[in-house]
Amino acid sequence: MIKDAVTKKRQLQAISWVLLAASVALAAGTAATLRGQQTDRAKEIGGKLLCGIGTPLCDCKQILTQCNHVGCRNSSGMLKTLDQSVARGDSEATILQNFIAEFGTAVLSEPPKSGLNLVAWYLPGAALFAGLLLVILVISRWLRRGAAAIPSAAGPTQGVSPDLLARARAQASRETQD
């Protein structure tokens, strides 16, 4: 009987592993079939720029390479300039700088990591760090409070009333439900 149960459990485990491996292989296979297609350099740099900044031609403010407005004089001009710069072999910094000179800093799809903009970049990290400290502090405080409460809560073990026992059971049931 016990042997049967063990065998069954092993079979279940084996099936689970096979299913798991198959699902991962399917997902990974998807990626593998798509791997190998390199992103164009212009496309990569274009991903760091926005369309429609500072001009009335297009107000979409989409990522330059994602602007899907055919005939958008803004993005077609910008993409042409970008392609020419890439063909010339300009560095990424130079290309971005040229766009900033023409359209302003707002042409960049993310704030530059300098000056006041650092606040945007560091704020989430700082919030995480401060929050982590706070959570650890709160947990430590609650733990200390819990440790201090143990002697009084333990009390005498004899003479526990049925009412107290029922309440304790109800509490245990409630606290272990979810």
Partner: protein, 692 residues
């Protein structure tokens, strides 16, 4: 009918003021008749708002082009389906729609608790009336949807004007999902008003115990469910209509909908700490306050023109009203908190660092950090311009860089939390609970890496998805195994039984599983690719395993628009797979309106072939076809459906405990019915397990 609607809204405003002022007097005097009249005035407010809203819909359906709002957002040929959607197409109507949805919630709450919670409900009624007063002020005096068209005649006398036809509905809104996406999202926004009113009411009334938490749990889940569905429907709409190949652009309006969802999710988790352990009372009250404030802030961002967005309504001074309202809410919350903060003393302490309670704290932390990241990124351009005069942009690359690690941390905690016990988790228990899922995750990672899945975040995401799916499956497996051993039912039936015995817990796990599926979809983003080509009939383009051939193009006149359609043949391994018909719609009434895109998608679990007819190239005069290959996107929509299903399950009441008679023969239980019947037995009542 416009006068009737306007009058109904004015009366609703008066009733709301009475419900608010009368409610305060009722609380002060404790007079039962005053309490009753304030409540009934609140109910009357809701009914009058219903009347006002239906009046506006009537104006749309009767093509009454004397009303400015109807002219601006409808026309005679507009399909009835979209005449419903025209209600929320503009500033005025969408604010009325907000009032309408809010009044559904208020009406339901006032009716549901009309004979219950007598100490608390007058406070709740006052808060709800206060919120309604604000929106009714906008509906009546700031952005009335019932204004009629008029021209100034001789001596400045105004004469009413009736237009022959309207301007029609914006092309972007003429899509089936736009009829259900805004109602879902708005139902989410407005739904959070109920937990807010109960939290503030309980704090003001110093209402004892955790009753307000129990009362608002389902309301919060309903609002959260609508918000989730609304966000996902919005994402799907953006994917299927906007034609840029993605579903989330971190647009300020999208972000505005995400903010209360994040804090609402944190609240749904941390509230369990208060219910079970009497802990985190201050935190929970503030989470509800913040969630409601973020709902209003989101509306402020959409309507004020403070941040630029493709979704935003026209810029107007209405933002100042919202700013004022936000200030009033914040002030009220602060005063209520500081006056009654002793009421929120925590009852319990923590027993161990490694426990379910700690995991909830970390879960809340990560959700809140994500909220801070999204909010700060959304508002940073505004602050930057104010402080330095320098205009900058915060686009999708920033949000992705900041939020992807946070999202992955959250996914990890989704797996960890349910495996930790309340109060304390022993080392043995940790080993027993985590060994399987961790091993599964590790195997998943190795297999994925070996097969070439080497984009860092995608690899981590898939690994965590396997890990979390493992933890959830383990929870169902263990519980169902126990039931199966007792009942002898099939494994699936046991799992269903298990879920129905504790719908909240297992519904929650189903929601988690839905989130896992959504994250599987996100993992595919790194492998998106696209190609764009000017094509003449007969020419082909290749993307991944698919060959697209433009067979022909045609023009199809419809009642309200003319569709310019491309007939694209999709081939795979030189065999025809299917036809796709991407199109652009030119609406008849407004020539200045940009054409609407209708993307054609061939969707499988593996990938989406997404084909857009982007228009005619100005250089070659040929149609431009833009094709995308987006892996795993379907998992997101499927996961969304699972999230909604899980929410519905969690809303069901737990199956009640029932008494059943189990057959017992002597001391040896017989499981085979025939044998049991053949032998004498003594009936014995056995309690089937039930949690409530």
């Amino acid at each position: 009918m416009d006068l009737f609607g306007a009058f109904a809204l004015l009366l609703a405003f008066i009733c709301a003021v009475y419900a608010f002022v009368g409610g305060i007097f009722a609380i002060w005097t404790r007079h039962p008749l005053l309490i009753k009249s304030a409540r009934q005035s609140g109910i009357a407010t809701c009914i009058l708002i219903f009347i006002g809203t239906f009046s506006l819909e009537y104006l749309f359906f009767s093509d009454d082009f004397s009303v400015a709002y109807v002219v601006a957002h409808s026309n005679r040929d507009l399909a009835p389906f979209y005449k419903i959607a025209a209600l929320w197409a503009g500033q005025e109507g969408s604010l009325l729609f907000w009032s309408f949805l809010l009044s559904i919630y208020v009406f339901s709450a006032l009716m549901a608790y009309r004979n219950k919670n007598g100490e608390l409900m007058p406070y709740v009624g006052v808060v709800l009336a206060g919120v309604q007063i604000f929106f009714l002020t906008l509906n009546n005096f700031v952005a009335s949807p019932f204004r009629t068209l008029a021209v100034a005649g001789a001596g400045g006398v105004l004469h009413p004007v009736v237009r022959a036809d309207g301007n029609g509905l914006t092309a972007l809104l003429q899509y089936p999902e736009m009829v259900i996406h805004p109602p879902n999202l708005y139902s989410g926004y407005t739904g959070f008003t109920i937990p807010f009113a109960f939290a503030l009411g309980a704090l003001l009334a110093r209402y004892p115990g955790e009753k307000w938490i129990h009362l608002t749990r389902k309301w919060t889940m309903i609002a959260w469910g609508f918000q989730s569905a609304g966000i996902l429907l919005g994402a799907h709409w953006a994917y299927a209509v906007l034609g840029w190949g993605g579903y989330w652009a971190w647009d300020p309006v999208e972000n505005a909908s995400l903010l209360p969802w994040l804090t609402g999710t944190a609240f749904l988790h941390s509230v369990m700490m208060q219910e079970k352990r009497g802990m985190m009372k201050v935190w929970n009250v503030w989470l509800v306050f913040i969630t409601f404030l973020l709902c209003i802030t989101g509306t402020f961002l959409t309507r004020s023109g403070v941040v630029a967005s493709v979704h935003a309504f026209a810029q107007s001074s209405i933002g100042n009203w919202f700013l004022g309202f936000i200030a009033v809410i914040l002030l009220t919350c602060l005063v209520a908190y500081f006056k009654n903060r002793d009421y929120l003393q925590s009852e319990n302490q923590l027993d161990a660092m490694v426990s379910r309670e700690s995991s909830f704290l970390f879960n809340n932390l990560i959700l809140l950090v994500s909220c801070v990241a999204v909010l700060s990124g959304t508002l940073f351009p505004v602050f930057s311009e104010w402080l330095s005069g320098n205009r900058i942009s915060v686009g999708a690359p920033f949000f992705n860089k900041v939020n992807i690690p946070i999202g992955l941390l959250l996914l990890f905690l989704t797996g960890v939390g349910p495996l930790l016990a309340w109060r304390k988790t022993s080392l043995e228990s940790l080993k027993r609970n985590f060994a399987g899922p961790l091993a599964a995750g590790a195997v998943g990672c190795v297999v994925a890496f070996t097969l070439g899945y080497r984009q860092f975040y995608s690899l981590v995401c898939l690994t965590l998805c396997v890990f979390v799916a493992g933890t959830i499956t383990l929870e169902f497996y263990r519980g169902a195994k126990v039931i199966r051993a007792r009942s002898g039912a099939s494994f699936v039936a046991s799992a269903v039984d298990l879920t129905m015995r504790n719908t909240r817990r297992y519904g929650g796990y189903i929601v988690h599983m839905g989130m896992v599926l959504i994250f599987v979809g996100f993992a595919g983003v790194a492998f998106n690719r696209d190609i764009q080509k000017d094509m003449q009939p007969g020419s082909t383009m290749q993307i991944g395993p698919y060959t697209l051939r433009l067979q022909s193009m045609d023009s199809r006149p419809e009642k309200n628009y003319t569709a310019e359609r491309m007939n694209v043949e999709v081939l795979r391994n030189n065999k025809q797979l299917m036809m796709l018909y991407p199109e652009r719609r030119h609406f008849n009434v407004n020539a200045n309106e940009p054409a609407g895109t209708m993307v054609a998608i061939y969707s499988t679990l593996k990938e989406d072939l997404y084909v857009v007819y982007a228009g005619e190239s100005p250089e070659t005069n040929l149609p431009v076809i833009h094709a995308y290959l987006n892996p795993l996107v379907k998992w997101i929509w499927f996961g969304g459906a699972v999230v909604v299903f899980g929410t519905l399950v969690a809303l069901l009441p737990n199956r009640k405990s029932v008494l059943v008679l189990a057959a017992v023969a002597g001391t040896v239980p017989q499981s085979i019915a025939g044998q049991a019947l053949a032998q004498p037995f003594t009936p014995r009542p056995a309690m089937r397990e039930g949690h409530d």
